[in-house]
């Protein structure tokens, strides 16, 4: 499997890009230290001559210079490069946590429904149907304040970790159903196969059947699904921040950069281009990686 993956040049390249993004996220403080700036300081306001009287960078192309590699944020005057680097952290952390949670719930629900059958299957099936019928984006926007209201009184400011946890939960609530539906189908067909039958006849306990017979056969679809899920969740998180219900100031976040970028694009398009290009490269690399993982696992699919 690993050998097959290594021969896939596109797969290796995209894996390198993906690892690069993860490394940048992990090493963000180091990068910021070497670069000598952080994503919070309002450089444009502290140093006169960087922003003009309307709050836009004086230098062309969004203020890109040897000092500020990717320019300065219009208005507040923060450094774009470090915001982007730290923004990867936020996005990846939230997306990765939501992916793990989604996969975990999806596995449990899918296997329980498929293996138990009967009434349990019916109940979980309906729950999946209803979840998939929810207009998810609208619902998350509407109920982000609700969840926070339960934990924080209106006068207090929402702590960042709470916002992050809420985002993760909200994304998971609307994503687990797809995963569960897929795995349920797989379990239904596996359950009738001879090796499961054989295990049951020889008196294996349900726990053993699930963990030793079913689960090993499910890792492939789970892994493929998870590699597709992570970039989808990164963009979903960015979209929510773009709509104003995602990460809050001053935590660096790609979606928030888009929101600001679309407000100022008529005068400073550069500020939008950097997070946009970064997100597109990330998603392309991850999608390619997903394709390659599938090819490596499933030699039956010819391309």
């Amino acid at each position: 499997m690993w050998l097959r993956f290594r021969r896939d040049r596109t797969g290796m390249m995209s894996a390198v890009v993906v690892i690069f993004f993860f490394l940048v996220a992990a090493l963000a403080p180091v990068i910021s230290w070497v670069y000598g700036k952080d994503p919070y300081t309002l450089y444009g306001q502290d140093t006169p001559g960087l922003l003009n009287e309307y709050g836009y960078p004086v230098l062309p192309n969004g203020g890109v210079s040897s000092e500020f590699w990717f320019g300065i944020e219009p208005g507040l005057g923060r450094d774009v490069f470090t915001q982007l680097v730290f923004g990867i952290r936020t996005s990846l952390l939230i997306a990765a946590a939501a992916t793990l949670l989604t996969v975990a719930i999806g596995i449990v629900m899918g296997i329980v429904a498929g293996y138990a059958g009967g009434r349990t299957d019916y109940a979980i099936g309906r729950l999946i149907d209803i979840t998939l019928s929810f207009p998810a984006t609208l619902f998350i926007i509407a109920f982000m304040p609700v969840v926070e209201n339960v934990f924080v009184s209106p006068e207090e400011e929402t702590p960042v970790w709470l916002r992050a946890v809420t985002l993760i939960l909200m994304l998971t609530i609307f994503q687990w159903a797809g995963m569960a539906r897929l795995l349920r189908g797989q379990v239904l067909s596996l359950r009738e196969r001879e090796f499961v039958e054989a295990a049951r006849v020889t008196g294996a306990s349900p726990t053993r059947i699930v963990f030793k017979e079913l689960l090993p056969n499910l890792w492939t679809p789970i892994l493929i699904q998870a590699t597709l899920l992570l970039p989808a969740l990164v963009t979903a998180e960015a979209a929510l921040s773009f709509l104003g219900v995602g990460m809050i100031e001053p935590i660096p976040d790609w979606g928030r950069m888009f929101l600001r970028g679309t407000q100022v694009y008529q005068n400073d398009i550069t500020y939008l281009v950097f997070p946009g290009a970064a997100l597109v490269i990330f998603v392309i690399a991850f999608n390619l990686l997903g394709d390659s993982v599938r090819d490596a696992f499933d030699p039956k699919i010819k391309r």
Binding site: P145, V146, K302
Partner: protein, 326 residues
């Protein structure tokens, strides 16, 4: 067939009921007090009480929900505001406009956006998918798969804004996105929506190219396609009459999902292009804590998803006679 329809319709209605109930009861956990918002900044207590009563907020929660529910089927009497005939979705907390009419007013924007974009991405995506499958491994196929990969990775708020900047503000190639009713000015309608259609099409086409290509490749290897070729059927009719028919199931499935999602409120698209459709309406309803409008938009969005799901399942039976509806 009839049994299938009845069962699915009942299931759909039940799902809608659950979704409305969840939305309704969760709404009241929001900190904002709609009565205070409706009453204005400086609001004496007795006026606040009055506003609360007018909006029906002094009733127990469950009674409010059932009143809302019966209003949809039987109409509802709103005291000071007059009688609201069925289907009554109530009055907006913010501007007192009847919600049903607001929805009817905004729906054409979203539907126009969806239909135009869907026509482009369906036709274009399926066509490129077929061509790519027929020329598997050749440069055409490579170009198609690379461009669909890039297309699928783009974001509306990014490409849309770039397009706005370069095609509208910098070079004035396209009109600024806006909505004009089709019945009044068909040309203006098309011109105002061209940019959003193009951007949506770029992003959505990718999925259709990919799915059509991979299913088509599978279909072209099927025995019945080989038989058709062997008996001397011309190549293009083999593709269009046999292989494409087998591919339709996949296409219809994703098309149903996409249409449902788009009609239900293209929140991001409408925000990016500043169009006043259902998506914007719902977003504003959230910021204003406007429960009746929010309920209505959630209901329309969920209904769109459910209806298209049922239609897709019905179409399966037409496309593939082996499918049994039960």
């Amino acid at each position: 067939m009839l049994r299938f329809l009845t069962r699915r319709t009942l299931g759909g209605i039940l799902t809608l009921l659950i979704i409305s109930a969840v939305t309704f009861f969760l709404f009241f956990a929001v900190p904002a007090d709609p009565a205070r918002l409706a009453c204005g900044k400086v609001c004496p207590p007795e006026l606040l009480e009055q506003a609360r009563h007018n909006l029906g907020l002094d009733q127990p929660l469950f009674a409010q929900f059932t009143a809302w529910l019966t209003g949809i089927f039987a109409g509802r009497d709103y005291g000071g505001l007059g009688y609201c005939p069925a289907p009554c979705l109530g009055y907006s907390f913010v501007n007192r406009a009847p919600v049903f009419e607001t929805i009817l007013d905004r729906l054409p924007v979203t539907v126009s956006l969806t239909i135009g974009a869907a026509a482009v991405f369906l036709a274009f995506g399926v066509a490129t998918g077929i061509v790519a499958a027929l020329r598997r491994g050749r440069p055409t196929d490579k170009i198609a798969s690379v461009s669909s990969l890039v297309g699928a990775s783009l974001q509306i708020y990014f490409v849309g804004t770039l397009a706005l900047y370069f095609l509208v503000y910098k070079n004035q190639i396209l009109a600024r996105p806006r909505y004009l009713p089709f019945t009044e000015d068909p040309l203006g309608w098309a011109a105002g929506l061209t940019l959003p259609w193009m951007v949506l099409a770029i992003i959505f086409t990718a999925n259709y190219t990919r799915m059509t290509r991979s299913t088509m490749v599978e279909q072209l290897g099927e025995d019945y396609v080989r038989t058709a070729r062997a008996k001397g059927m011309p190549g293009h009719s083999v593709v269009l009459r046999f292989a494409l028919r087998g591919t339709l199931i996949t296409i219809v499935t994703i098309f149903g999902v996409d249409l449902g999602a788009l009609i239900g409120g293209a929140i991001i698209t409408e925000t990016t292009f500043g169009l006043q459709g259902l998506g914007r309406l719902s977003l504003n309803a959230v910021t204003d804590s406007d429960l009746p409008v929010l309920m209505a938009t959630v209901l329309v969005a969920a209904a769109a998803i459910i209806v298209f799901n049922i239609v897709v399942d019905l179409l399966y039976a037409f496309i593939d006679p082996r499918v049994r509806l039960n």
